[in-house]
């Protein structure tokens, strides 16, 4: 339970691992062409892509205001204001939609992408607080080195570079505090989801979309499950320099 919201991935360019994995799942479940293309890039590029990971996220519709430290979320209330009351769920719809061509009107597309733009990173203090709650130690003591500057947006969290106490370079994914509970609660309002999706994607099978959305999002919230998936993937023969995750 403790480590559920925190996933450390041992790799030179660890952010890529989580990204590649997320894209793999998307490919498998939704057969989305842009996701597949991005996945190929990520897999082929290996460590080379570590530096441009944020740009790759942007291509996948996860542009985040990583540079807006001045806007950083300072408290759990800031997180709730920014991602609560359906906004986190709408961001997820936006992410799903960014892999489906032609499903959304330009206006809705704009709204969802602006919503993604509206989420700044967590402040260093808030990030440290989450790490402390999950690992029982502040990040500077839980890790030999900890970079307080996030290197990538992770949809409902962010990714930090760190070095573990036994010397491995890792990327640590830190989830926004309280966001899992908030999003899970928002996903239970099926009537509202239906209403939103009828407006945003009138041509689609709305109930199937809702089912897909709920499955995917609840899965995304569970970082431990993601870690398990990564371990599985890394064990596949022929996986290109696949990093192994650390719970």
């Amino acid at each position: 339970m403790k480590a559920k919201r925190l996933l450390a991935t041992v790799t030179a360019g660890g952010a890529i691992a989580a990204l590649a994995l997320a894209l793999l799942r998307r490919r498998g479940r939704l057969r989305m062409d842009r996701g597949r293309a991005a996945l190929r890039l990520a897999m082929r590029g290996g460590a080379r892509y570590a530096a441009s990971a944020p740009r790759l996220f942007a291509a996948a519709g996860e542009q985040r205001q990583l540079l807006r430290e001045d806007m950083a979320l300072q408290t759990a209330e800031d997180v709730a204001d920014t991602l609560g009351t359906m906004k986190g769920v709408m961001m997820k719809i936006g992410q799903m939609a960014s892999y489906v061509d032609g499903g959304l009107s330009p206006g809705v597309r704009r709204t969802l992408s602006r919503l993604q733009d509206s989420v700044p990173p967590m402040s260093g203090e808030l990030t440290a607080q989450v790490v402390r709650e999950e690992l029982g130690l502040p990040p500077e003591r839980a890790f030999a080195r900890w970079d307080p500057q996030p290197i990538a947006a992770a949809s409902i969290g962010q990714v930090h570079r760190a070095v573990t106490l036994d010397g491995r370079a890792v990327a640590v994914k830190v989830q926004y505090p309280g966001i899992a509970e908030t999003i899970a609660a928002d996903l239970r309002n099926v009537a509202l989801l239906r209403r939103m999706l009828r407006i945003t994607a009138p041509a689609q099978d709305v109930d199937a979309l809702i089912a897909e959305l709920r499955d995917r999002v609840l899965e995304d919230l569970d970082y431990r499950r993601e870690a398990a998936n990564q371990r599985l993937l890394a064990a596949c023969p022929g996986a290109p320099r696949m990093p192994s995750p650390m719970p």
Binding site: M86, K87, A191
Partner: protein, 296 residues
Amino acid sequence: MTADLYGTATALIERSAAAYVSGVPEDAADDGLFGPASVTWRVSSDLASPVAGLRSLLMQALHPLAMAGVDQHSGWRRDPVGRLATTSAYLATITFGERAVAERAAARVRRIHDHVRGADTVTGRPYAAGDPALLLWVHVALVQSSLAASWAFGTPLSAVDSDRYVAEMMVAAELAGVPRPLVPASVAGLERYIASVRPELRCTPAAAESMAYLLDPPGLDGEVAGFWQDVRDAAIAVLPEWARQMYGYSAPPLSPGRRAGIRQSLGVLDAMFLGEPGVLETRQRLTLRMRTARSA
């Protein structure tokens, strides 16, 4: 018709967003009448603002003379969206604009009010929109509705901040033309004032008909109507019981689940607002100024 009204709902968001963006100056010469440390700035960005707005209108319409003035002069029926957008532009300018800009906007409204005179067809009483008594009712309805809506559906203010908000807003009433000594300066003052005005309040045919139209615009598209219904139920739920009775609305108390559902709807509306050009940048500017003021 349906397409028009769907367009109307979208246009309302578009135009209030445009009003908001143009009301907040980019490189402000001064902090305006309230400033980044004010409670008023915080209340203005509350999630429950649409509920506060609708509740204000419901309260304001119960004053027969205020209602008659709007009914006979404003032409809101021809362009309801335009009328609401004008009001939200005024509020944004007064709240966030530079002092001189806010004062010019108020002077313009006072000049328009000078021409709004007539007689209420029900009571036969004459009215003038510049009458401080009417302006004060409109003011108090707005201030009290903001408190009630944010308390129930947004971020509730502490008792101290509620009083501060009422006191800060006195300047808005003054700008509209109400002498300061008449304006309530605290939450208790608001309540006393409302109790004193209550004998004059009633639901005239003009109020009943206008509000019925506003609460249930004919032919609203199904999905959009769902959002409107949430805002409407919320506004009715936070009306005083006597006001609900005047209109003849029944409102069973909202269950916690229904309240959460309304907040979720308000979140979606807020996201739609955020999607309009310039809104995100404007909010970020305001947030930064408020943070700077807080840490100062």
